[in-house]
């Protein structure tokens, strides 16, 4: 079981959290200005990264706050946890075994 560092509560077991998918997908400010394809891209398409990935987590059985994490989708290693509004931590500049070039 993974462990996550909730930015509000500290290190807790994964079973307290729920996963919220890829992070920082802003809702378009003017939806009507988008074509169907652009809107569908916002709705459905996710980057599906093999490697370090910014994602959303909810401390569901804790403080109920959403926060962000950087996780390696191959090794499941977390390299950063940060709050909404925090400056974005850099993605680690490390190669990931088997990741597409």
């Amino acid at each position: 079981m993974l462990q996550l560092q909730c930015p509000f509560c500290g290190l807790r077991d994964e079973s307290e959290f729920s996963f919220g998918g890829e992070a920082h997908i802003a809702r378009p400010l003017e939806p009507d200005a988008l074509s169907d394809e652009e809107w569908a891209d916002y709705l459905f398409n996710r980057s599906n990264v093999k490697g370090f990935h910014r994602e959303m987590w909810l401390h569901a059985a804790g403080c109920r706050q959403w926060f962000y994490a950087i996780r390696n989708t191959v090794s499941y290693e977390f390299t950063a946890f940060y709050r909404v509004g925090d400056p974005l931590p850099d993605l680690p500049n490390r190669s990931v075994p088997g990741a597409a070039k």
Binding site: R27, P31, W39, W66, S75, V84
Partner: protein, 1002 residues
């Protein structure tokens, strides 16, 4: 006891133990397993194989055992498929064979074996494809004939526990390398947890008499364990199997606490699961010996060489009078030595290698034992058990047999095809293995967690190497964690000169047709033979995962611990590939089967596993005869039968009473969320499809919530309590997901909004008083509210009190009738309900449940989200354009303009009236254009809700139908479970009071 040496071994001859196997009494000693005790009693045939019902005996001495499975204990305490090689005996123990009737020596179903040519790989798929309807019959017979133990039928009476453990260093396996690793980490002050699955710690040392540090290994073991026990920072867990290795160095282990004790001595929990978080893990899990398939290698008396040594040395059970040893490596020569020392004649050591110049072969030759090099056992001789071994020479390239075969009389064949490191936990942890050509095994390669493998688990098979690696790993783990390991050297063991192992995967009977020859078993538990693997390849199964599933290789309770690698090597040969490119199947938890009791832990009594939610009025419902249904975790009153009423009769009565006078329903389970803050209305504008800014204080509005994909997600009434204060109702089942939905938008997308939310579902008790007389009932008990129809209009919300208790009343309706929902602090819920009930007596007030609620709302065409919708339904599909604002943005709005949602032939929400008013359609029934259609029929939608309406004295239904809004008045056909189709006419979803006048009671 016919077979027991007089001295030595780890059994306590002063403590005899009586037990019963298949109804017959036997005696063993303290320290015996089921296997050693039966073997010492001369019991060789202990069960029948899974498919062919062939007589089988023990092949191993530990976790790898594939044949020796038993049904242990009886009744509620029974456990199926217990490995007899690991289960300890105790006074009064009873167990039976798992797959033999009437007994293993005379098995009626052994007939299957005679027809084994009719039961090849893929037999199930081939035989039962057609006709499909007979599958149920076949399955019944097959399930009875095959399979293993029987699950208990009674409620488990035992107690199980779970606990969390934290340590610096977890060592899995207390063989020599694990013990040394634990010692070295412990001496550096690290917090150490050492788990081992056996009743005694020591691993392979328990079955060996060797020298460590110049002393007998048993002496070294005793003092090492004493030293470990003396450490305060060390926890030793015996009878504990680490069965899962998960992310974050999280290892799950189960300890068997009472299964080795007579029932009279069992106290406390039967099993305990440890959830271990370790900073460093040292895997000292050892290795499993593998067999070499040869003809009829499954006869009782063919055993793994290491197991033979174990029975002879550890349990003093000599097993046989004459033995043949068959090997491709030096290790089995130790077995020959052990047998010889125990007084058993070793007729020959048969070695597939051309040279055997190691130290052990030298000793064996010195004992006068015949060593046959470049030779193989071609088949065993005997009936149920072995009486001899046919031996033949191999050609120089080992690809064919040469010369004539020689028969050696023997009642034991000890086999060693080499060793497989137990890489299961490593693989579960995400690690990768690689093939080692020199050692002929898979060994650990890439490690992704904080972990190291040592000793035999790391393909370092010699004792000297294992001790060295254990010491290094213990020191390194401690050092990584900031401890200061003392500089003590690893204990020394003699290094032995060895001749390298050579691969030997099967007997080359026929170079052109490698599948030819007598049956050679690879996977004993699933009766998979060499020819089955070749057959699978000939039939087009090439991936190792496919071959596994087609032949059942590596299935079963042993998960192929002995047979897998042999099977994969044969597969590689059949595919003309090498072993690394053939690959292995995936190792998944659990390492060995874990009981459901252990998994469930203390939640097993059924009350804690899934919490039950009851409303404040629950007891009243129970006292008034309500039957309950589960809605999520809630128990809601379903209906209140009187006398012998059926469901339909009760619902008819409840519906009529409500529409004609007054009914009362417990609506407390509806989700409730309070939303407060200066931006609350702005927030609701984005969440709901309709407008909220202009809603007056003291008024309520019905709202639709969409996902961003435009599909209906939830609905409910929200009340404005103050300018900056709203009270949202959600569906009963949707309360938690709606709360999540609101939180994610508020926290991550619009954190600048000043809005606060609290889930208050449980804080309020809600009684819905419904019907033309509801005003008279409610107004007679509520103080402080003007109930005049205009002063307290429809969708109005007012505050008052009952007996001084503050109540809050909403005039909202889910039935089309005049109705009031009376909310009160849940602690006063039952009191207020009873006051309303008493006030309703003059009007024959009738309590109703969820079934009547559903009928009443369906008569009005009100949607139930999740029943009439399924995540692919837009508000326009429901005909709810009126609830959608055109003047603002909201979640999901843009999606409604997508091409797919503008299609005119979408499935749309309509009412259905059957031509025959007596027929009630089946919910889920498919809708067709014609009464009969060729299969596959063109399905136009389905019935979402269907009831008999007592008020209309006919059936009504709601449905989603392709292009339904434009098909009003047309006849369609609904398929029923019995194959009929029933004609029905598409119409309005509103069956009663289409103008909505009923709630305008003066």
């Amino acid at each position: 006891m016919t077979n027991r040496l007089d001295t030595a071994g780890r059994i306590d001859r002063s403590k005899p133990i009586s037990f019963r196997f298949n109804g017959k009494g036997y005696v063993g000693y303290q320290g015996d397993t089921i296997a050693s005790a039966l073997l010492a009693n001369g019991v060789k045939v202990i069960g029948r194989s899974w498919k062919y019902h062939r007589a089988r005996g023990f092949m191993g001495d530990g976790v790898e055992e594939a044949n020796g499975l038993f049904q242990v204990q009886t009744g509620a305490k029974t456990i199926p498929n217990v490995r007899g090689t690991q289960a300890e005996i105790y006074e009064g123990l009873e167990f039976t064979s798992t797959n033999a009737w009437p007994n293993p020596n005379f098995d009626v179903l052994a007939l299957f074996g005679k027809f084994s040519f009719m039961l090849p790989a893929g037999f199930y798929y081939k035989t039962f494809m057609w006709p499909a309807k007979l599958w149920m019959t076949y399955e019944h017979i097959i399930r009875k004939a095959s399979g293993l133990g029987v699950a208990p039928k009674e409620q488990d009476t035992d107690h199980y526990e779970k606990t969390n453990e934290h340590c610096d260093v977890l060592v899995v396996g207390a063989g020599p390398s694990g013990i040394v690793a634990a010692l070295h980490a412990a001496r550096a002050d690290a917090r150490v947890l050492l788990v081992d699955e056996q009743s005694e710690m020591g691993g392979r040392l328990l079955s060996q008499n060797v020298q460590i540090e110049g002393n007998a290994s048993s002496e070294w073991l005793r003092s090492a364990l004493l030293e470990l026990q003396a450490f305060e920072n060390v926890t030793l867990l015996g009878r504990t199997t680490a069965f899962g290795y998960h992310d974050g160095n999280f290892v799950t282990a189960v300890q068997r606490l009472t299964d080795h004790l007579p029932e009279s001595k069992q106290r406390g929990a039967r099993e305990k699961v440890f959830r271990i978080r370790a900073k460093q893990v040292i895997l000292a899990t050892g290795a499993h010996e593998r067999p070499i398939p040869f003809g009829y290698n499954d006869r009782a008396g063919v055993m793994l060489a290491s197991a033979v040594s174990s029975y002879v040395v550890r349990y003093s059970a000599p097993l046989a009078k004459r033995a043949v040893v068959f090997t491709n490596n030096d290790g089995a020569y130790q077995t020959a030595i052990d047998l010889h020392r125990a007084g058993i004649t070793v007729s020959a050591v048969v070695d597939s290698r051309s040279e055997t110049n190691g130290d052990l072969p030298e000793i064996v030759r010195g004992l006068g034992i015949e060593v046959l090099t470049q030779s193989t056992v071609v088949k065993s001789k005997g009936g149920k058990s072995v009486t001899g071994a046919y031996v033949q020479s191999l050609s120089d390239d080992s690809k064919s047999l040469v010369g004539a075969s020689r028969l050696f009389e023997c009642d034991l064949i000890a086999v060693s095809g080499g060793w497989n490191p137990a890489i299961h936990l490593l693989a579960q942890s995400g690690g990768k293995v690689k093939w080692n050509d020199a050692k002929v095994c898979f060994e650990p390669d890439v490690v992704v967690q904080k972990q190291v493998s040592v000793g035999a688990a790391n393909a370092s098979f010699s004792l000297a190497e294992g001790l060295q690696e254990g010491a290094q790993a213990g020191d390194a783990a401690a050092k990584t964690l900031g401890f200061d390991p003392a500089t003590n050297a690893a204990p020394k063991a003699d290094s032995i000169k060895e001749q390298a192992i050579q691969p030997m995967w099967r007997v080359p009977y026929n170079a052109d047709k490698p599948w030819d020859g007598p049956k050679q078993f690879v996977d004993f538990q699933n009766d998979v033979s060499v020819s089955d693997i070749y057959l699978a390849v000939r039939e087009g199964f090439h991936s190792v995962e496919h071959v596994k599933r087609y032949t059942a290789l590596g299935f079963g309770t042993d998960q192929g611990k002995t047979g897998n690698i042999v099977g994969m090597a044969i597969l590689a040969d059949a595919l003309d590939k090498d072993i690394p490119s053939t690959g292995t199947t995936t190792f998944r938890p659990n390492y060995t089967p874990v009981t459901f009791g252990a998994v469930a832990g203390p939640d097993i009594d059924g009350t804690m596993f899934d919490p039950v939610r009851k409303t404040a009025i629950h007891q009243w419902h129970a006292e008034h005869g309500a039957l309950f249904e589960n809605v999520g975790q809630w128990h809601r009153p379903w209906y209140y039968p009187q006398g012998n009423e059926t469901l339909q009769e009760a619902v008819n009565r409840e519906c009529l009473a409500t529409r004609n006078s007054v009914g009362i329903m417990d609506a407390s389970t509806l989700g409730k969320i309070e939303i407060k803050g200066k931006d609350a209305s702005k927030f609701l504008e984005m969440i709901y499809t309709n407008n909220w800014k202009k809603l007056a204080v003291g008024m309520a509005r019905y709202g639709f919530m969409l996902g961003e994909d435009g599909m209906v997600m939830d609905d409910g009434v929200t009340v404005r309590l103050a300018d900056d204060h709203f009270f949202m109702h959600t569906t009963t089942g949707g309360a938690a997901s709606v709360m999540n939905w609101l939180e994610v938008w508020l926290q991550t997308e619009w954190p600048e909004l000043e809005v606060f939310m609290t889930s208050v579902t449980d804080h309020w008790s809600t009684a819905a008083v419904v019907g033309p007389n509801s005003r008279k009932v409610v107004s007679s008990v509520v103080d402080g509210i003007d109930f005049d129809k205009d002063a307290f209009p429809f969708m109005g919300s007012r505050h008052g009190s009952i007996d001084g208790v503050p109540v809050w009343v909403n005039r909202i309706s889910f039935s089309g009738e005049l109705a009031y929902e009376v909310n009160v602090n849940a602690n006063q819920g039952r009191h207020v309900w009873e006051r309303l009930w008493a006030a309703g007596q003059p009007y024959d007030i009738t309590a109703y449940g969820t079934e009547t609620l559903h009928v009443l709302r369906a008569e009005k065409g009100y949607v139930i989200v999740g029943q009439d919708t399924d995540g692919s339904v837009s508000p326009e599909d429901l005909g709810m354009q009126w609830a959608m604002s055109k003047t603002k943005d909201y979640l999901g709005r843009r999606s409604l303009a997508l091409q797919e949602l503008r299609r005119e032939d979408r499935k749309q929400f309509v009412g259905l009236l059957t031509v025959d008013p007596k027929i009630v359609l089946e919910e889920g029934g498919q809708i067709l254009n014609e009464p009969a259609q060729q299969i596959p029929a063109t399905m136009l939608g389905h019935v979402t809700s269907s009831y008999h309406s007592a008020c209309l004295d006919r059936s009504i239904a709601l449905a989603l139908v392709r292009n339904g809004h434009k098909r009003q008045g047309e006849t369609i056909y609904v398929s029923m479970n019995d194959g009929r189709t029933v004609p029905a006419v598409i119409g309005s979803t509103v069956f009663i009071d289409p103008k909505g006048e009923r709630q305008n009671v003066a």
